[in-house]
């Protein structure tokens, strides 16, 4: 390995180092704040190191990792998201009394898994990244082990996600059996020479696709999503919903593009079909949901549906770059928004007996006793709903443009119908936020220290900035693709 390779791997190395340091630190000094601080610092440094690493990009580091600008961009996004999650979790985790240092360690590892996924170009790295991400998440979800909901969520996630991983692996085994390679780009080259109708290939690719679709919680593999989301601690849900999804989508994108699975038109059409069903079912399921976390879970199914549109668009060579650009922008916007939304939910739910359940009536009149929190929550909801001036809108606008450019009218129709339904349930929360407080019913002030508030403000600022001045990010995306 050359020095350039090490530079390119710098973010991963920093993350690995952080994990090690954390373990050592816990061995010597037990302090939640120090651990969290170190974790956040490590993640932030890893994010910064992406800039250094960018000087070497794009670079194929061993057959396993393709460190290109897109990967680094998302590496940075994931690390920052991880750092924010660390800080948002502080309040939450301290209520749990016993030593929660490993929580942060797990978060760092999980982030690392996501970063590996972002640049994976080989089955081995895919497997490593995916499992690093997932296994750490099982533990994180189950972390508040005094209550039973997280436990239930974690066990469901573990069993199902394990099955999905097994499916992916089996699929890859079949692909390997047919093609003899495990590297994405090699696979693409070999596929071109093989018989496209070979059932082993077909079954293999379908199984890989099914496994990934499960991880993305696209319909019909979506049933686990609301249970896991609502059972998990809110910051972790945010992390899972944003980083967990984005990393998988990135690796799927890379796999489809580099291994050229786009040649299987039926597979892509299935993604289209899945997109349509995800958009409709996700939004419909969220429609009358009174548990906010479950609602956001269902809505995340819909968002995945929106994102899956880009695979159909990619079929059109002229629109492929635009599609990837749209996906990248959407993912960044979605990550920021989701982290913000769940982070705010963490704060809002701080006073509840059972923190995992946030019902609509819990936020009644929030606008009047915690205007700042409510205002920030409002912005994140509007961004999720895709209202202009927010990042979510620009993301949706991007996908609109991509789909129009690729002439995918049916998907556009579903996108419009889905968004239309979506408006209802997001607005319902807004309505509850702004309900007039009843006289005899005074709610205690929502918690959240200055750190949390500051972070929330920063995230919301990010959402608004991306929504109002998206050009820098767009230019950057254009330049790297």
């Amino acid at each position: 390995m050359s020095p350039a390779d090490f530079t390119a791997l710098l973010p991963l190395l920093v993350l690995a180092g952080t994990a090690t340091v954390l373990m050592l630190q816990v061995a010597f000094l037990r302090s939640v704040n120090v651990t969290a601080g170190l974790a956040a610092l490590g993640l932030a440094v890893a994010a910064l190191s992406c800039i250094t690493a960018a000087s070497q990009a794009p670079l194929q580091v061993t057959p396993l990792l393709q460190v290109d600008h897109l990967a680094l961009l998302f590496c940075a996004v994931f690390c920052l998201a991880g750092a924010v999650t660390v800080l948002l979790s502080l309040d939450y985790i301290q209520c749990h009394g016993d030593e929660p240092e490993e929580y942060f360690l797990l978060l760092v590892l999980s982030t690392m898994g996501a970063c590996i996924l972002a640049s994976a170009s080989h089955l081995a790295s895919l497997l490593l990244g995916l499992e690093l991400l997932s296994v750490a998440l099982y533990a994180l979800i189950a972390y508040p082990n005094k209550s039973i909901l997280p436990l239930e969520a974690a066990s469901k996630y573990l069993v199902l996600s394990g099955a999905a991983s097994a499916t992916i692996l089996f699929g890859f085994a079949l692909l390997y059996a047919a093609s003899g390679t495990l590297s994405f780009s090699e696979l693409g080259l070999r596929l071109a020479t093989l018989d496209g109708a070979d059932p082993i290939l077909l079954v293999g690719s379908a199984m890989v696709f099914a496994g990934l679709a499960f991880k993305l919680s696209a319909v019909p593999f979506h049933l686990w999503t609301p249970d896991v989301y609502s059972g998990a601690p809110a910051p972790i849900t945010g992390f899972l919903a944003s980083v967990g999804k984005a990393a998988v989508l990135l690796v799927m994108l890379r796999l489809f593009l580099e291994a050229d699975l786009l040649r299987y038109r039926i597979l892509i059409e299935l993604t289209g079909l899945m997109a349509i069903f995800s958009m409709l079912a996700g939004n419909l399921l969220a429609l009358l949901q009174s548990n906010i976390k479950r609602m956001l879970a269902y809505s995340s199914i819909a968002h995945i549906g929106y994102l899956l549109i880009i695979f159909m668009v990619s079929l059109d060579l002229g629109s492929r770059t635009l599609a990837i650009e749209a996906a990248a922008f959407y993912l960044v916007a979605y990550t920021v928004t989701t982290i913000a939304a769940f982070g705010l939910l963490t704060v809002i739910s701080a006073n509840q007996a059972e923190r995992e359940n946030v019902e609509l009536h819990h936020v009644n009149g929030l606008f009047w006793h915690s205007p700042l929190l409510a205002g920030l929550f409002l912005v994140s909801l509007l961004s999720l709903a895709g209202i202009p001036l927010t990042a979510g809108f620009i993301g949706k606008f991007y996908i609109f443009n991509a789909a129009v450019s690729g002439h995918n009218w049916i998907l556009l129709g579903a996108l419009i119908v889905g968004s239309a339904i979506g408006i209802y349930y997001y607005l319902r929360v807004v309505y509850h936020l702004s309900r007039r407080p009843e006289k005899h019913h005074t709610q205690p002030k929502a918690a959240g220290g200055w750190l949390t508030r500051g972070l929330a403000c920063a995230l919301i600022l990010g959402i608004l900035l991306l929504g109002m001045l998206p050009q820098p990010l767009m230019s950057y995306l254009q330049s790297i693709l």
Partner: protein, 610 residues
């Protein structure tokens, strides 16, 4: 002289009265209300004097109302002989009625509102007749309609009054809408709404009997029929009697209801291009005058009798217009304004002095108790019945003669008019005999004061001598001198009202002829109630329009369109619940669903590959 001052004065007064909202002293209110119209009347007199001296048509443009492309209606006045006649009637009779109102309405708490509406009405009516284009005329036309609505519903506490007012407005609005369509047609086809250029353009572009002028005049006729309470839109007028009696005198007898006649006369050149419409006008006139006369025979509300007689008399005017005797029509309009205002005011005096009693069968013997009123009523009835040498005699005679001279249909029209004259005479003297002769039923509690008596006397005079006025209409309408006067026709015309008087005497005063037995029989009963209800036309319209409309509104109340959207909502809620049914929370089911999904995917993939 500033012609614009004439409508402006009442308008100004109306505005002042409205702004004051009753905080002005009552006497000042009265002075302002009646004075402004009096001043306007004075100005009209000056104007008329000037006009009679030089015969010059006066045109005044105030400003261009709006200008879009070639649609440039102006706020401008056109004063010729016809206008002068109308203005004189409006301000002259109007002033007398205002004067009378002071006493009649003195005890009413809303005196100020009353005079404000009345002045506004006079202003609008003046605009109507002075307008130099049809759009401004339409403004006046709608303006008088609103004033009529406001005044009919003046005593707003009684919901029936409100209903009558709305009926008046809506029914006339039906006609107005037709008229508006007529204006659109005229403008689209001829490019202007200015009346004089319009006439020129119509004559230049259209031949007699073309379709377009027929349609246009038919639409205008719709407006005229509505406003002038002719068949089939006459039903509002009897109900409009709910307003104060001076209002009935001014609006529903002397001025507003004759606006339709004015409209046709003003646009007579247009109507001459459309003979079928002219015939329709004539037939509508005859039909209306007969229907209304028959109906009047059966009524027992003093004001309703007068209302039906108004409808009937306007029928004569329409007859005149329909046979091309425009000047006679206008002549009858003027004399009718005199004697009908007189009758209404006298009736008002009776009602005023008799504790608001309307039923003629509870009156009686008032000849000695209210002598001034009696003589006024007698003179008015004589003029209405067209007894010789009253004003009504001259005007109605002229109409009947013109009808007779009409080729082909003339005798039929004449016969109808003649029958109407007979009936008119019968019901007018029935009224006189029942109210003023016989046993006294109710004692009057007061006598009319000078402000009531004065106008009555003046109107008596006018009703008597009005027939000798020479109207300055020669420049307006084409001359149609009566070529050969058929003496027998003339004699029959003169004799008919007298016959009617005799019949009325025998029936209602002398009781030599009794129709009690006839009325007691079932057919008689039915006939009487048929007449009393105005030939059940109200019921017909209720069944045809009113009830279907309210039913439709009731049926639609819950928004049929919204049901469509509700269905969408219900469908999405249903799918929500169905999909939610899958979220059982059981791990094994989730695993099963995954397997299903996987199998489905594999099946689709393999199926498509082969």
């Amino acid at each position: 002289m500033a012609i614009w001052l004439i409508p402006f004065l009442p308008l100004l007064s109306a505005t002042l009265l409205m702004v004051s909202t009753g905080r002005m002293p009552r006497s000042l209110t009265a002075v302002l209300g009646a004075g402004s119209v009096g001043l306007a009347a004075l100005l009209v007199a000056l104007l008329a004097q000037g006009f009679l001296a030089d015969g010059q048509v006066r045109e005044v443009t105030l400003w261009t109302w709006m200008a879009v492309d070639n649609f440039t209606p102006r706020v401008a006045f056109y004063v010729d002989g016809l206008t002068i006649v109308m203005m004189s009637v409006i301000t002259g009779v109007g002033f007398l009625i205002h004067l009378y109102s002071i006493e009649f309405m003195w005890d009413d708490e809303s005196l100020c509102r009353y005079f404000a509406y009345m002045n506004l009405f006079v202003a609008a009516m003046l605009l109507l007749v002075m307008a130099d284009n049809l759009l401004l005329l339409y403004l006046g036309w709608e303006g008088v309609g609103v004033c009529s609505y406001l005044l009919v519903g003046f005593w707003y506490r009684d919901a029936d009054n409100g209903k009558a007012a709305r009926k008046a407005f809506v029914v006339t609005r039906v006609g107005d809408t037709a008229m508006a369509l007529g204006l659109f047609l005229l403008f689209t086809e001829l490019g202007t709404l200015d009346i004089q250029p319009l006439m020129v353009a119509a004559n230049a572009n259209w031949q007699v009997g073309d379709t377009l002028p027929i349609v246009a005049t038919a639409l205008l006729l719709g407006g005229a029929v509505g406003k002038s309470a002719q068949l089939p839109l006459h039903t509002w007028l009897p109900d409009a009697m709910a307003g104060p009696t001076p209002v009935s005198a001014l609006i529903h007898a002397a001025t507003m209801v004759t606006a339709g006649v004015y409209l046709i006369a003003r646009n007579y050149q247009l109507f001459l291009l459309a003979p079928p419409t002219m015939q329709a006008v004539a037939w509508i006139g005859v039909a209306t005058l007969l229907l209304a006369a028959f109906t009047a025979l059966a009524q027992h509300d003093i004001k309703r009798i007068l209302a039906y007689s108004t409808i009937s008399q306007i029928g004569y005017m329409f007859l005149a217009l329909g046979v091309g005797a425009f000047a006679s029509g206008i002549f009858h309009l003027m004399t009718h304004a005199f004697f009908k205002a007189l009758l209404f005011l006298a009736a008002g005096a009776v009602i005023h002095c008799l504790h608001h009693e309307h039923n003629i069968f509870r009156m009686g013997g008032l000849r000695t108790r209210l002598p001034v009123v009696f003589w006024s009523f007698l003179i008015g009835s004589a003029a209405l019945a067209a007894l010789p040498f009253t004003s009504g005699f001259y005007s109605k005679d002229a109409i009947l003669l013109s009808a007779w001279e009409q080729p082909d249909i003339g005798p039929w029209l004449w016969a109808g008019g003649l029958l109407g004259a007979l009936l008119t005479s019968i019901y007018s003297f029935r009224l006189v005999f029942i109210v003023f002769f016989g046993e006294a039923q109710t004692e009057p509690d007061r006598q009319p004061g000078w402000r009531m008596a004065g106008p009555l006397l003046l109107l008596c005079l006018l009703s008597l001598i009005g027939g000798w006025f020479a109207l300055p209409l020669s420049g307006v309408f084409p001359e149609n001198g009566h070529a050969q006067v058929n003496h027998s026709v003339e004699i029959i015309s003169i004799a008919t009202p007298l016959l009617g008087l005799l019949l009325a005497y025998l029936l209602f005063l002398g009781r030599q002829l009794s129709i009690d037995k006839l009325l007691a029989s079932p057919t008689g009963q039915a006939l009487k109630s048929f007449c009393l209800s105005g030939w059940r036309i109200d019921n017909l319209y209720n069944a045809l329009w009113v009830r279907p409309y309210t039913n439709l509104a009731h049926w639609w109340r819950n928004e049929p369109i919204d049901q469509l959207y509700n269905a969408v909502v219900a469908a999405s809620q249903w799918s929500h619940r169905t999909l939610l049914g899958l979220q059982t929370g059981e791990l094994r089911w989730y695993a099963t669903s995954m397997v299903f999904g996987l199998v489905l995917l594999l099946a689709i993939m393999l199926r498509n590959a082969t």
